[in-house]
């Protein structure tokens, strides 16, 4: 605990972790990248409180936390749509709001999306970085608070209340009705999959299994037939890869993925759509559409423009605090 105090956690929520934009540059040593499941909302939340995009904040999963501010702070929440209360008073998502020392912030019901991002003005969660990053990787127990999710009694060191004007942003359009369409670039191992597997991937809905986590989503649907049961030699991989083990149940690799893997990959979800994927909860559905490299690039530029536009508009839409 720091001298100045911070955010004292009363209830940690289901899975609340410290995340910045990831631990890049150490995959040669087998160090996974980690970082946010929805980088769009992560960056937007940081922007609303005047932080640099890679400041460490809290990623909140399905059930949110409850905490007391031990000093005056300014916060903003983006991503999943939760009821949020500051003491007895409701505060909206996508808006900066001040919290005075002694006040409690409580996350309540969730109305959409799976993961919310809570940013703190003044640089975010001020813990020492590990290998240049504050991102929590749960399996290797690295970064964040001792490499784990928050627990009741934790005190997060944060900066005392920079006074900010109130900023407001609409945020990411969340998947509606528990369904998301994700665009996929065909994968590496063409020899491992035929047209049948591609048709299966792009013609039915896959359910995000309850056995999903930050490493990856197991996808329930028809098994994807492999042309060969041979395993490829292990190779480096990235977020969004859809790998298919011998039994045919695809796994969409997410933020806490390993650095390399030995299953054939039928495709990669495009970067522009990964933030949407990050807002899916277990039990929700994914439909995949095949796309071209050109479409992937245009989609990414469109997504980035949308984020930039929301960031630019944030300052105009807020009333001054």
């Amino acid at each position: 605990m720091t001298v100045g105090g911070g955010l004292r956690i009363l209830k940690p929520g289901l899975l609340t972790t410290v995340q910045d934009l990831g631990r890049w540059g150490h995959q040669v040593d087998g160090v996974p990248v980690a970082g946010p499941m929805d980088a769009f909302s992560h960056r937007l939340a940081n922007h609303l409180v005047g932080n640099p995009p890679d400041a460490a904040l809290l990623e909140i999963t399905l059930i949110g936390p409850e905490f007391v501010a031990e000093l005056d702070v300014t916060l903003a929440v983006c991503g999943a749509d939760f009821d949020i209360a500051r003491d007895a008073e409701a505060v909206p998502t996508g808006v900066t709001f001040p919290v005075r020392a002694g006040q409690t912030v409580r996350f309540g019901r969730r109305h959409g999306g799976a993961r919310a991002y809570l940013a703190i003005a003044g640089g975010g969660v001020l813990i020492p970085p590990v290998l240049g990053s504050r991102a929590t990787h749960l399996v290797s127990r690295m970064g964040g608070l001792d490499g784990r999710a928050l627990l009741a009694g934790d005190v997060l060191p944060v900066a005392a209340g920079a006074r900010l004007r109130m900023n407001r942003a609409r945020g990411l359009t969340l998947p509606s009705g528990g369904r998301a369409r994700l665009r996929v670039l065909p994968g590496s191992q063409g020899t491992w999959f035929g047209e049948d597997a591609w048709r299966a991937l792009t013609s039915v809905s896959f359910r995000v299994s309850p056995r999903s986590n930050r490493m990856g989503y197991r996808l329930e649907g028809p098994p994807l037939a492999r042309l060969s049961q041979e395993e490829p030699i292990s190779e480096p991989l990235g977020m969004g890869a859809i790998q298919v083990p011998a039994a045919g149940e695809p796994i969409l690799l997410m933020a806490d993925r390993q650095t390399a893997g030995g299953y054939p990959k039928i495709g990669y979800v495009i970067t522009a759509d990964l933030c949407v994927a990050g807002q899916l909860a277990p039990g929700e559905f994914i439909e995949f559409d095949r796309c071209s490299e050109r479409e992937a690039v245009s989609a990414l530029i469109a997504r980035e423009r949308e984020l930039m536009a929301q960031m630019a508009a944030a300052r105009d839409q807020g009333a001054s605090a």
């Binding site: 540059g25 995959q27 040669v28 030699i233 292990s234 480096p236």
Partner: protein, 214 residues
């Protein structure tokens, strides 16, 4: 060597698909060359057995320039022969007993004594092909065929840190306690990974490892 995009943020340089020291040496040398060159937008350069992954930020990378850089460095590596000198690292191992619960099973697989397994395992120099699975976990190749016992069908839920295992022709050390399916023949006190140390990982791709009975 062929270039291939895997998704929209990962460029793969793929050599012939083989677990072969000569192929891996080119991958490691190409990784070194690219890191030294430093291409704008590149976030991570990751060697595998026979392929190199170059992770890039698509909004900050001139992909054509990156592809040219990889091709140029790969050509230079081919010419120079890629045979950079790499260290040999000795790792002390206490074989058998409760720390190596599968030593007898490997001996049965090999049709020899536990002592023979230890001698064979410790007599062989192993190449670090790549790291993965968890931080500091090195995939070491070149296990003699006679002791190349396959991994367990059902993995153990907890393999203690420092455990030395065999899985077919691979051997390796678990840096932290994790689930794992390898045949455990001993344990080391060597610290495989420590983020406060520089370098954090005891082993790097291209290194040679010798296990020394302790």
């Amino acid at each position: 060597m062929k270039l291939r995009l895997a998704g929209d943020t990962l460029l793969m340089a793929e050599y012939e698909p083989a677990i072969d020291p000569a192929v891996n040496a080119r991958v490691v040398a190409l990784a070194d060359a690219l890191r030294k060159r430093g291409v704008d937008g590149v976030r991570d350069v990751v060697p595998g057995y026979c392929s190199l992954g170059v992770h890039f930020d698509p909004l900050r990378t001139d992909l054509l320039a990156l592809e040219r850089a990889v091709l140029a460095d790969a050509r230079a590596v081919d010419v120079s022969g890629a045979l950079l000198r790499r260290p040999t690292i000795e790792i002390p191992v206490r074989y058998g007993g409760p720390e190596g619960p599968d030593l007898d099973e490997v001996a049965r697989f090999a049709g020899c004594s536990a002592r023979d397994v230890i001698e064979l395992h410790a007599a062989t120099p192993y190449r670090v092909y790549m790291l993965g699975f968890v931080p500091g976990f090195a995939y070491l190749g070149g296990v003699p065929a006679v002791i190349a016992a396959p991994r367990h069908r059902v993995p153990r839920e907890r393999v203690p840190a420092g455990s030395v295992g065999i899985a077919g022709q691979q051997t390796g050390v678990y840096p932290i306690e994790t689930p794992g399916g390898w045949q455990l023949i001993g344990r080391t006190t060597a610290v495989m990974f420590d983020p406060s140390r520089a370098p954090a990982s005891l082993l790097a791709p291209g290194d040679t490892v010798r296990f020394v009975p302790a």
